[in-house]
């Protein structure tokens, strides 16, 4: 068990390290550097040299990578391209806001997705299943910005129930984002429900078709007892990993949704940084998202390892 956990941890760290190398090399491959981006048309002669010296760009790449990586480990991402704001400061509130959005979507989405998935799985190919599954496919296939735009058109413009976009500044207290945030988290919730529900449906169907459920049914165990005691605990276990993937997706993939709703989260900061070619901010955000992704997946792996008696005993036997 401990060997297993240590192995997963080590693999996670290797992945994060590889991401940092890829990102650093990606930015390194650029024509021009942070200084040409800051100085724009004045980027020549003495001004360029002075700027490079100030940012430490004349040192070798390996040296700079080590410096950068050492900073990142301590939560210091350096200064942004405009030169008077530390990236850690810029990112702080944005991370909180993105987490807020994700937390809202998760709190509503997960219970709803599990309920719908179980109903669809048990009533397979009958109308509740057809309805939910078609809805899920639609929600999954239609691009986020299309779904968001249609929701704004219907609920904000035609019906006028909720505000269309968020105008609250990034550093406002969390409660100030209501009710502007409702539509944005509705879009995310919808997408998340679709993914998680489909997964739960498939695993409920699989569990109901299994030998132990058939055995229980043949023994004369009542239907609902079979469902809740025999099928569901096994069917819901794989959901942990899907939920983990969704959490990571919520943090990284919400870029489009945040842009549509003008929500001051990590995603919109990323788009602004890309438009302004502020590479260090792009580096920082990508590192944060990748590290979160790895961490969340690691936790999910360990959780399902601990909750699944089969995996547990299997590992014990092997040792």
């Amino acid at each position: 068990m401990f060997v297993m956990i240590a192995r997963r941890l080590a693999l996670g760290l290797v992945t994060v390290w590889l991401v940092s190398v890829i990102i650093f090399l990606g930015v390194e491959a650029l024509p021009g550097d942070a200084c040409t981006a800051i100085l724009e048309r004045d980027a020549y002669g003495e001004a360029l040299d002075a700027c490079r010296k100030a940012l430490g760009l004349e040192t070798p790449a390996l040296h700079r990578y080590l410096n950068w990586a050492a900073g990142v480990v301590q939560g210091d991402f350096g200064m942004s391209a405009n030169g008077h704001e530390s990236i850690a400061q810029m990112v702080g509130y944005r991370v909180r806001n993105s987490l807020l959005l994700a937390a809202g979507a998760l709190a509503v989405g997960i219970p709803l997705a599990i309920t719908l998935g179980v109903i669809a799985g048990l009533r397979r190919d009958r109308w509740p299943d057809l309805l939910f599954s078609t809805g899920a496919i639609l929600a999954m296939t239609i691009p986020e910005f299309v779904a968001a735009t249609v929701l704004i058109l219907i609920f904000a413009i035609w019906l006028g129930w909720v505000p269309a976009i968020v105008l609250t500044p990034a550093d406002a207290p969390p409660l100030d984002f209501f009710p502007e945030v409702i539509l944005a988290s509705a879009v995310l919730t919808m997408l998340m429900i679709a993914h998680v529900m489909r997964m739960i449906r498939a695993s409920v169907i699989e569990a109901m078709a299994s030998d132990y459920v058939q055995m229980a049914t043949l023994k004369g165990v009542p239907y609902w007892r079979v469902v809740f005691r025999h099928a569901l605990p096994n069917a819901l276990l794989p959901a942990i990993n899907v939920i983990a993937l969704t959490v990571a997706w919520l943090l990284g993939g919400v870029v489009v949704v945040e842009v549509v709703f003008n929500y001051p989260g990590l995603g919109r900061l990323l788009i602004d940084a890309i438009s302004g070619r502020d590479l260090r901010v792009v580096q920082a955000i990508t590192m944060i998202v990748a590290a979160t992704y790895v961490a969340v997946n690691l936790v999910a792996d360990l959780l399902s390892l601990m909750l699944n008696p089969r995996l547990r005993s299997h590992q014990a036997q092997r040792r």
């Binding site: 590889l18 058109l153 699989e206 109901m208 489009v256 842009v259 549509v260």
Partner: protein
Amino acid sequence: MSALAATRRMRAGALLREVVARPSGAIGVTLVTFHALMALLSPWLVPYDYTAMEATLTLAEPSAAHWLGTDHLGRDVLTRVMLGGREALVITGIATPVAMLWGGLTGVWLGLCGGWPDEVAMRLVDAFLALPGILPLLVLITVFGTGGEVLLPTLAFFFGIPVIRVARAAAHEVVARDFVSAARARGHRPLDIVRHEILPNVTDTLLVEGAMRWSWMLLGFSSLSFLGFGVAPPRPDWGLMISDARVYMSLAPWGVIAPVLALSTLIVGINLTADALAKTLGLDRSRTAVI
């Protein structure tokens, strides 16, 4: 050789017939065919020039002259919607097979050979997949800039990475079978084993995977356009049109609704086709469980 080619063609025809026999497949194939034809023929069908502006007719309602109204610059929405899928279809239509090819071959090769190259490659794949959604695309675009000549290789590269994993898993299943051991025992070279034993057994999986990847790539492409990193204006593109028309949504909803419908029908069509294809080939997991 010619006999083999003939059976392949027959198989493709039979497969298509079986896909269309399912309701989802029939709807999907119809939608995709319609969009493909529209992309091919629209330059000769459009009523107006896509850049022609009428200053007196901005954000006009749908009328006999402009069936879907006009946009904020007085350009005909119908014309732009008819042309708006061409760039996306061409770029993703080329990038998807390229992604499937390099990802698929790499995955199969890794699945067959294993060892330390496999371990290293899979760690790299994990690292790339740790950047979810369109994040890696955005990073590459920051590095190399926008435009079709950048987008095509970028999309082909990134969408090939998850394919490596799928192809590797599919190859692993085949590699364990007796006929591969037999081929090895006969002393066939790895390349021959890949070509004659493994590839024929993973094409079904890769076909379905390719159809799904295509719809995701279209999604990614139009999201990039929407964010302003894809097709450059004034060329018409659905993602870009939705982004532009969004600002005037309360005055002229048709400017948003028309490209939304066009993009959605294409993506839903591809998904329905992929779904029917998977079921026809017997690859749908939830279908194999019987209640």
